[in-house]
């Protein structure tokens, strides 16, 4: 077990973890934008930089990617680090002044004024890549990716066309920190043809990816609940009975996390086929949280929970 020092405090860290993980485990806050515990470290936003010393001169590294090693001395809040973070937040603010996460960071780092010399932009996407990585690593659909280089970089489907790989699971919308992904469930969509239009029933639309999905209607309550196509995939992958997805999660027993038993191991979160489980802080501890907005109620997490903290229960209608 390597011993490292963070802000003067000696800590015995487990093997194969990053500085960020150790810091958070020990109640030391480091800001991040592109990090999510369920995804592999990326190092895109650079907000989590810390000063490290290992023998020689102090260098600046991203704590979310840097593995701990014996004798590492970490400082998370020096003037140099604050200056660096202020520059990053400033640059983000110049392009995306509206998102709440950016405004909060600006407030925290005391940025009240920006140079007026730049063209005013008002974009919401901050190119953190969380949606791209969730789609790839959790959902494994790889429907979206980055296109373009430098300032022109943006998240899109191949050739900006409607993607046949998108399954409409909505994980990208759930994980987006700036709420830029526009996912809508329309109770009754119309298909427009020249001179005519036709009702095609409930539809989930993801305008950012130019995709639209017909949504399955619950046999029990008649509510639309999830795009039909991926449900069949999940059913086969998990060997569920043919009629399993005929009813919506609210009309059958669905998984619920018992927060008393949950140990925050993330086993369920990383294994959920669509990333409907994310971790949330509860009394300074990590607890799994099932987002019912996109949960299909497929039970997969129940098997994956090593401590039996996820139970099937009757739910109230959403």
């Amino acid at each position: 077990m390597p011993t490292i020092t963070i802000n003067g405090k000696k800590i015995e860290a487990p093997e194969n973890v990053t500085i960020l993980e150790v810091a958070r485990e020990n109640g030391i806050f480091i800001p991040t934008l592109c990090h999510n515990d369920c995804l592999a470290p990326y190092g895109g936003c650079r907000l989590c930089v810390v000063e490290i010393t290992l023998g020689g001169k102090p260098t600046v590294e991203t704590s979310c990617t840097y593995p701990v090693e014996e004798g590492l001395v970490v400082k998370t809040d020096t003037e140099r680090i604050k200056r660096a973070r202020r520059v990053i937040i400033g640059l983000l603010l110049d392009r995306s002044p509206k998102p709440v996460v950016i405004q909060d960071l600006a407030l925290e780092y005391g940025i009240t004024e920006r140079p007026t010399r730049f063209a005013i932009e008002n974009e919401h996407c901050i190119r953190c890549g969380l949606c791209v990585r969730a789609c790839r690593e959790i959902v494994q659909a790889r429907a979206i990716s980055f296109a373009g280089m430098g300032f022109e970089r943006k998240v899109t489907t191949p050739f900006n066309e409607s993607s046949s790989d998108c399954i409409g699971c909505g994980t990208c919308e759930l994980i987006c920190p700036t709420r830029v992904i526009d996912m809508r469930d329309l109770p009754d969509a119309q298909e427009h043809t020249p001179g005519d239009h036709e009702s095609i029933g409930p539809v989930r639309s993801l305008d950012n990816w130019n995709t639209e999905f017909k949504v399955k209607v619950c046999k029990e309550c008649g509510n639309p609940f999830y795009p039909a196509q991926p449900l069949e995939k999940f059913r086969q992958a998990q060997n569920l009975q043919p009629e399993f997805f005929d009813t919506c999660p609210s009309c059958r027993v669905t998984p619920r996390v018992d927060e008393e038993l949950c140990v925050g191991c993330m086993g369920c979160a990383v294994n959920c086929p669509i990333g409907a489980i994310m971790m949330k802080e509860k009394e300074e501890e990590q607890r799994a949280n099932i987002y019912r907005e996109i949960c299909t109620g497929c039970h997969y997490c129940v098997d994956k929970c090593v401590v039996g903290a996820i139970k099937l229960e009757e739910q109230n209608h959403v």
């Binding site: 895109g44 840097y66 990053i88 983000l92 901050i126």
Partner: protein, 558 residues
């Protein structure tokens, strides 16, 4: 022939020597892409036609680039009894005159540049040519005087597609030596003793990189050649790999043997199509000759080489971005650590070396690390190839021992074009900033250049007194803006904003505060960027503000 034993390389070498100094006349034309752009193809065709017309018994061979770019197309003539004569520029209309002189056994004075009386190769073989000709010797010829050719040992001398000619100059002797001794640790020791540093700019000790990869117990390892050259206005690696691709392949094989890899990739820029074709031809030739594939030279060592075309961006020359691109992913850098030598291509230990670095390897293994370390200065051993370009009298590629002063390299290139004064120069690529002319006494030395906040990259670009340095800074920032991959915030957003500020300064609406703003960005962007592209983003701006404040003052006014 198929090589079934390490000793057979010598037989092949003898065959090659007969090519290099045949009984009849040998005429070589520098036909790398640089030569072709000046009409080397036409010269070659004209030579063949003219020789047939006058019934001259001569071989006409297309060779690579010998570095004398200003004299392209370069033609060399080896005739019995005469020294090797270098002519240039020989455009196709001058061919009849040249052939006439060659047939008569004369020297064509007007076009002749220099003579060579002896070529000494790595393996000890020497070729003596005739001695008498009323012409300056190559060793005294100003563009060549002071050069030491280790990396460029074969450039412009051999047919790049001929394995025999490569063997004649000592090619594959190093690999044969390594395979015969069966001691990978010794190879790495020699490379460490040579003090060779990666020639890409970062200057990481090559031996240490190899050692790290060798020490890993992973089931598979890889060797990757970084030939994704992207510095604007510089084509040094293109010239090297086009002129002597076999040295690169031999370097790879030796590296593979040393670290225990059996698969190599050459990641080549999309701008180097000619070199890519040559490599593919050679790979099949080498496989037939028993020098690639299973059981190389009849030993237990197997190695295959695959050529992969790059995605073409500047950042694809960054080693982890390169690995991403090789795997078919987005060309953006990976977090480091883990370094590629521990966890690289497909998660396996991977040595990524650039073209120039690997071309040094056969010479080091054959002649020993201490021989190589004899060139250069402490901490910067061996030689360095530089493309000298920009506002210089003679655009050329030179190879000089490290420690050589920059002003001496400038002298080789004939100084500044049109007898103008030198204002500044660039030696570290776009990220190395622009140094003032006062710094020409600096030696080519990694540590000393790092101290000046620049590095040792592939080109020396001269800028004369008329250069507007604000415009220059804008040019390089635009380059960064276009080539940034966009993964990390400081580089993606920073390059764009810095460009905007420079635009305003160029337009005359800039303020003194703008310069302070730009300078205040330097440390944070350097600290936080993921790779060297972002880390050196501000260098063209901060170096010009510091070295040429008068240029900014003119734009900003009082």
């Amino acid at each position: 022939m198929k090589i079934k034993d390490v000793k057979e390389i010598e037989v092949m070498a003898k065959e090659g020597v007969r090519n290099l100094k045949p009984a009849q006349i040998r005429i070589t034309v520098g036909s790398a892409v640089c030569g072709q752009s000046k009409g080397a193809k036409e010269t070659l065709e004209a030579l063949k036609a003219e020789i047939a017309k006058v019934n001259l018994n001569a071989d006409v061979v297309a060779v690579g680039c010998n570095g004398l770019c200003f004299a392209e197309p370069v033609v060399e003539v080896i005739a019995p009894g005469m020294p090797k004569i270098t002519y240039g520029p020989v455009t196709s209309d001058k061919v009849p005159e040249l052939v006439k002189a060659v047939k008569a056994g004369n020297l064509l004075k007007g076009m002749a540049l220099c003579k060579t009386t002896r070529d000494q190769f790595l393996n000890g073989t020497a070729i003596e040519y005739g001695r008498t000709a009323d012409l300056i010797d190559a060793s005294e010829f100003p563009p060549l005087k002071g050069q030491v050719r280790i990396v460029m040992r074969n450039a412009g001398l051999i047919d790049p597609l001929s394995i025999e000619e490569y063997a004649a100059t000592g090619g594959f002797a190093a690999l044969a030596k390594a395979l015969m001794e069966k001691n990978p640790a010794k190879v790495i020791k020699e490379v460490e003793a040579s003090g060779l540093r990666g020639r890409g700019g970062a200057g990481f000790p090559t031996g240490l990189k190899w050692k790290t990869a060798k020490e890993s117990a992973a089931p598979k390892k890889y060797v990757v050649v970084n030939c994704s050259e992207g510095d604007p206005e510089v084509g040094m690696h293109r010239s090297l790999i086009e002129s002597d691709p076999l040295s690169v392949i031999e370097g790879m094989l030796i590296c593979g043997f040393a670290i225990g890899a059996s698969q190599g990739y050459i990641y080549i820029s999309d701008k180097l199509a000619a070199a890519e074709d040559k490599l593919n031809v050679l790979i099949s030739k080498l496989s037939e000759a028993g020098l690639l594939g299973e059981r190389i030279m009849g030993t237990d060592f197997s190695f295959t080489v695959t050529v992969k075309r790059s995605t073409g961006s500047y950042v694809s020359g960054e080693e982890t971005a390169l690995l991403n691109a090789l795997e078919g992913d987005i060309t953006e850098p990976r977090p480091r650590p883990p370094f590629p030598a521990k966890k690289g291509l497909l998660g396996m230990p991977t040595v990524v070396n650039n073209v120039e670095t690997l071309m040094n390897i056969p010479a080091i293994v054959l002649k020993g690390g201490s021989w190589y370390a004899g060139y250069g200065v402490e901490g910067s051993c061996g030689t360095k190839v530089l493309a000298v370009t920009g506002d210089c009298e003679r655009t050329m590629t030179v190879e000089v021992p490290l420690g050589t002063k920059i002003k001496d390299v400038i002298a080789m290139a004939g100084g500044v074009k049109g007898k103008k004064a030198l204002k500044g120069f660039q030696i570290g690529g776009p990220g190395g900033g622009i140094l003032s002319a006062k710094k020409i006494n600096l030696p080519l030395d990694y540590q000393k250049l790092w101290k000046e906040k620049t590095m040792l990259a592939s080109g020396l670009v001269l800028m004369d007194e008329d250069t507007d340095m604000v415009n220059m800074a804008r040019f390089f920032i635009r380059f960064f803006e276009e080539e940034s991959c966009g993964k990390c915030v400081p580089c993606r957003e920073g390059s764009h904003r810095v460009g905007e500020v420079l635009d305003q300064i160029m337009k005359g609406t800039g303020t003194k505060g703008d310069l302070d703003y730009l300078l205040s960005l330097e440390e944070p962007i350097n600290d936080t960027s993921a790779c060297a592209l972002g880390k050196t983003l501000l260098a063209p701006v901060s170096s010009t503000i510091k070295n040429f404040p008068e240029d900014y003052a003119k734009k900003i006014g009082g």
